[in-house]
Subunit: 168 residues, 8 copies
Amino acid sequence: MGSESDLPVMEETLRILDSFGVPYEVRILSAHRSPHETSAYARDCMGRGIKVLIAGAGWAAHLAGVVAAETTLPVIGVPVDSSPLKGMDSLLSTVQMPPGIPVATMAIGRGGALNAAIFALQILATSKPDLQQKLVDYKKGMAADVIQRKNRNLEEYLLNRKTGASAS
Amino acid sequence: MGSESDLPVMEETLRILDSFGVPYEVRILSAHRSPHETSAYARDCMGRGIKVLIAGAGWAAHLAGVVAAETTLPVIGVPVDSSPLKGMDSLLSTVQMPPGIPVATMAIGRGGALNAAIFALQILATSKPDLQQKLVDYKKGMAADVIQRKNRNLEEYLLNRKTGASAS
Amino acid sequence: MGSESDLPVMEETLRILDSFGVPYEVRILSAHRSPHETSAYARDCMGRGIKVLIAGAGWAAHLAGVVAAETTLPVIGVPVDSSPLKGMDSLLSTVQMPPGIPVATMAIGRGGALNAAIFALQILATSKPDLQQKLVDYKKGMAADVIQRKNRNLEEYLLNRKTGASAS
Amino acid sequence: MGSESDLPVMEETLRILDSFGVPYEVRILSAHRSPHETSAYARDCMGRGIKVLIAGAGWAAHLAGVVAAETTLPVIGVPVDSSPLKGMDSLLSTVQMPPGIPVATMAIGRGGALNAAIFALQILATSKPDLQQKLVDYKKGMAADVIQRKNRNLEEYLLNRKTGASAS
Amino acid sequence: MGSESDLPVMEETLRILDSFGVPYEVRILSAHRSPHETSAYARDCMGRGIKVLIAGAGWAAHLAGVVAAETTLPVIGVPVDSSPLKGMDSLLSTVQMPPGIPVATMAIGRGGALNAAIFALQILATSKPDLQQKLVDYKKGMAADVIQRKNRNLEEYLLNRKTGASAS
Amino acid sequence: MGSESDLPVMEETLRILDSFGVPYEVRILSAHRSPHETSAYARDCMGRGIKVLIAGAGWAAHLAGVVAAETTLPVIGVPVDSSPLKGMDSLLSTVQMPPGIPVATMAIGRGGALNAAIFALQILATSKPDLQQKLVDYKKGMAADVIQRKNRNLEEYLLNRKTGASAS
Amino acid sequence: MGSESDLPVMEETLRILDSFGVPYEVRILSAHRSPHETSAYARDCMGRGIKVLIAGAGWAAHLAGVVAAETTLPVIGVPVDSSPLKGMDSLLSTVQMPPGIPVATMAIGRGGALNAAIFALQILATSKPDLQQKLVDYKKGMAADVIQRKNRNLEEYLLNRKTGASAS
Amino acid sequence: MGSESDLPVMEETLRILDSFGVPYEVRILSAHRSPHETSAYARDCMGRGIKVLIAGAGWAAHLAGVVAAETTLPVIGVPVDSSPLKGMDSLLSTVQMPPGIPVATMAIGRGGALNAAIFALQILATSKPDLQQKLVDYKKGMAADVIQRKNRNLEEYLLNRKTGASAS
C-alpha cells in the first residue's frame, strides 16, 4: 500500500486472505516517496515466486501503475477514498492505464480491498482446484447468507414494523 | 460483449490474443436482452475449461457484473464509451462492484480492450512459464519501441522543425 | 433491495405503501450474490399477480436492470447513496439502461424511495379509480401543507426574527 | 417535448408506439416559454382519458417535473443531450425530483426515448393482457435477435478476420 | 424558497436585506407541490410593485425557472446543497436555462443566498442613488475588513506561532 | 469578453440588445492578459452612466469576478464552452463567487449569451416601463411561437410520418 | 491567502517554510474583496526581492490567477476545499488558466499547501546549492521514513494481528 | 512526454522555448512502458545541469509524478486530453500528488503546454535578470495585443455588423 493511512482500507484484503489461508506479505511502498524500493520490490516479486500483486493507494494513485510497469505478474489496484474528491481521483489514476500495462481496478475503498483479495484468489485458483472449490463454497455461502439470514432479519423487521404500527 | 456496437472497441482484445496465439471464443451476450443465455454461458465456462472471462459493455454496463455473479473464474470488465457521458457511466457500472463479486476493470475504450487481453494473458501465465516468457518479451518490445523507434521519430521531427524554422 | 444496508433508505417506500393500504412483499435479492433467486423472483412475479417491481441498490446498482431483464412488468429503480461517490455511481448504473429494457429511475436516496412508492401507486391507479382518487387527495394534501402549515411556520419564524432583532 | 430540437431524439418514442399500434398525441410544450399551455395540457390529460405522459427535454430540463406537478398520472422523463454538458444537466434536472412528485427517468438521448415508449406500454399493459403479450413477444424477439442474428454476424466477422489474417 | 428545509440557507438573504433596510416578503412556494400558488405568486408580483424575485431550492431545483417563466422581472436563483450530490444537481437545474428565460444563478448554499441579496440590491440600486451609495460603502467595508481586521488577526496568529515555536 | 475566440458565443448578446434597440459597448478585456485595463474599465463604468455589465469567458473564467470586484453595478457572467471540459470549468469559475461579490451566472454557451442580454434588459426594465412592455411582448411572442408555429411544424412532420409509413 | 478561513489549510505551507528556515511573509488578500491591495501587492513583489508567490483560495478561486496577471514571478496555486463541491470548483478555477499566464497548481487542501512550500523551495534551489542539498536530504528522509519507521509499524500491526487472531 | 501522440499538444512548449531562445531537450519517456529509462533520465538531470522538467501525458498520467519522485528539480505537469474523459483523468492523476512530492500542474491541453514553457522560464528567470526582462516584455506584448490589435478587430467586426444590418 502507498501509505500507512491506507491500512484501515487495505486490512480488508488481509482479512480475506487470512480466512482462505493463503500466505502473503505486506509492504508500505510509495510510488513517490520510496520509488526505488517500490520498483525493486515489484521487479523481484516474480523471481521470489509471488503470483499476484495488490496495490492500494489514494489521491493521484500511481502505485499500481508503477508496480505494473515493472512486472508481467497480474497487478490489482484498489483506489482509496482519502482525498476531498472521495476517490474519484484515485479511481481514474488507477484505471485509466495506457495500452500494454493493465491494472485490474477494483471498487473505491474497503469493498474494493475485499474484492482485491477475492480476485487474487480467483487468479490463483485458475491452477489450484482446491482453492477453486473454496471459492465456489464462499460464493454459495454468500448466496445462502442473503437468501436465509438476511431475509429472516428482514421478516423480523417487517413483523416488528407491523406490530409497532398496530400498537401505536 | 454486450452488443454488436461494442465490436470496434473489443476487436483490440482479439488482436492481442491472436498475436499471442491463445485460443478464445467470442459471443454477443446481453445482460438485459438475453439474460438466460448470458447466465448459462457464464455458469458453464468453468466446466468447459475456460480460464478467464472478458466482458465489454457500454452505458449502464451490467454485463461484467452479471457474468461475475455466475462464476468464480476471474472476470475482466471493459467499459465502452458509447454513451453521451463518454464511458463514465460504464466505468462506474463496471468497477463499483459490491464486496464478494469482483470485476477487474480496465480503462475506458480501445486501450482498455487491449489491456483486457494482456491482463487475461498475465492470469494464464501465472501457471504457464512459456506464456510468461512471451509477456516478458512483449514488455521488452514495448520499452524498446519507445526508447528507439519513437525517439528516433521525435529526433527527426525536431530536426525538421529546426531546419524548417531556419528556412522560413 | 440489494442489501440489508439499503433498508434505512427503502423503508420510505414501505411507509408510503402502508399509508395507502396497498399490499406488497419485500425481499433482499442481490443481483450479484444471489443471482438465481433474483432472476427467478423477477420471472415469477407476473404469474403471481404482482403488478409493479421496485428495486433499490447502491454502488454499481445492477439490481433494477437485472430484474427488468426478466419481466415485462414496470420496474422502478432507486439509486442508494451508500458509496463514497454519493450515489452518482448507482444513479448512472440504474438509469443508463440500453434500448428495450427500461428502468424508471427515481432520485438518489430516501426521497427517491418515497417517490418509488408514489410512482408505483400512480401505475396501479391507471386502472383503479379509487386509488387515483387517493393520489389526487394526497397531492392536494401536499399542496395544502405547503400553502398553510409551512407558511404559517415561516411567518412565525419571521415574526420571531423581527422581535428578536428589535429586542437585541 | 420541450423544443422542436428534441424531435430527432423523441421520434424514437413515436416509432415504438406506432409499431405497437398504441395511439398517442405529440405536443411541443415548453415549461419556460409556454408555461400556461403546458400546465393546462398536463392538468387536462386525465379527464381526456390519457393514461401516461412522456416528457423529453434538454438543458435544465424542467418539463417532466412541471408536468408531474399538475397530474397524478405517471410521468416519464427523457433527458436530451443537447447541451455542452452532454445531458448530465438534463439527467439531474429530471431525476432528482423532491419527495411526493416522482418522474420516472430514462437514459439520456435516443435510447431513453425508445425506453420511454416501452415503459409507457408496460404501464398500460398492467391492465391490458393483450398488450402484455405483445411486450412479452417483443422481449423474446430482442433475445432471439441477439442470440441468433447478431451472433451469426459476429461469426461471419470472425471467419473473415481469420481468413483475412491467413491471406495477408 | 421551495421548502422549509431551505430556510437555514436562505436566511442569509433576509439578514442582508434587513441590514440594508430594504423591505421584502418571504414565501414557501414549491414548483412541484404547490404549482398554482407558485405560478400565481410569480405572475402577480409585478402588479404589486415587486422589483426582483429570489428563488432558493435544492435537488432538481425548478423553482427559479418556473418563476422566471411567469414574469419579466429579474429572477435570481440560489442552488441549495441539500442532496447527496452536494448541490451540483440544483446548480445545473438552476443555471442551464433555455434561451429567452434567464435565471441569474448564484453560488451553491449560504454564500449564494447572501449574494442573492446583494445582487438584488445592485439591481434596485440602478435606479436608486442612495442605495447605490450604501452598496459602495458596504464594498469599502468589506475591503477594509480584509485589509485591517483580518490581517491584524493574521499577524497575531503569526506572532503566537513564532513565540509558541520558540517556547516549545 | 475575455478573448476574441468568445465572439461567436457572445454575438448572441449583441443580437438581442440590437433587436431591443438598447445601446451598448463591447470590449475584449482579459482578466489575466490586460488586468489594468479590465479593472479600470469596470471601475469607470458607473461614472460613465453604464447600468449593467456582461462578462463572457472560458476556461478558468475570472473575468466576471474581476469585474464584479471593481463595481457595485450588476455583473452578469456567461461561461463559454471553449475548453476540453466543455464549460464545466468556466461555469464553476463564474458562479462559485465568495460572499459579498455576486456574479449573476447564465447557462453555458450561446444560450447563456442570449439570456445575458435578456437579463440585462430585465434589470434596466425595473425602472423603464416602456422596456418592460417590450419584454412582456417578447415573452408573449416566444409563447406564441411555441404554441403556434412550432406545433404546426410538428403536425406537418407527424402527417408526413404517417403518410410515409402507409406509403412504404 | 484569499480568506481567514483558508488558514487551517495554508498553515502547512508556513510549517514547511519554517522548517527549512526560509523567510516569507503572509497576507490575506482577496481577489474580490480587496482587489487593489491584491494587485498592488503582486505588482510590487518583484521590486521588493520576493522570488515566488503562493496563493491559496477556495470556491471560484481567482486569487492565484489575479496575482499571476500582475507579475512574471512564478505563482503557485493551492485549491482549498471549503465549498460543497469539495474543491473541484477551486481546482478548476486555479488550474485552467489561459495561455500566457500560468499558475502552478497543487493538490486540493492541506497536502497541496505543504507541496506549495516544497515547490517554492525547489524553485529557489535552482540557484541555491545549499537549499538544493537540504531538499535532497528531505527527500531521503521521506524515503527512509517510509522504508523504515512505517514498515516497522506495519510489521508490529501484522504481528499483533496474528497473535490476536490466534488468541481469539 | 509520455507518448508520441502527445506531440501535437506538447509542441506548444517547444514553440515558446524556441521563441525565448532557451535551450532544451525532448524525450518520449513512458512511466509505464519504459520505466527505467524514465527514472534514470529524471535522476540524472540535475547532474547534467538541467534546471526544470516538463512532463506531458494523458489518461492515468503518472509521468510527472514518477519524474518528481526521482529529483528535487521543479517538475511541471501538462495533462493531455487524449482520453474519452477529455483530460479530467490526466488532470487528477497529475495534480493530486501526495505531500512531499509536488507537481506544478498546468491547464489541460495545448494552452497548458504553452504555459508550462512560460512557467519554466519564470523559474529560470528568478536568477536570470535578462530572462526576467524578456518575460516582462512578453507580458506587455500580450496586454498590448489584447488592448490594440484584438479590440481593433472587434471594432471592425462591430462596424461590419452595423453596416450589414442596415443593408439587409
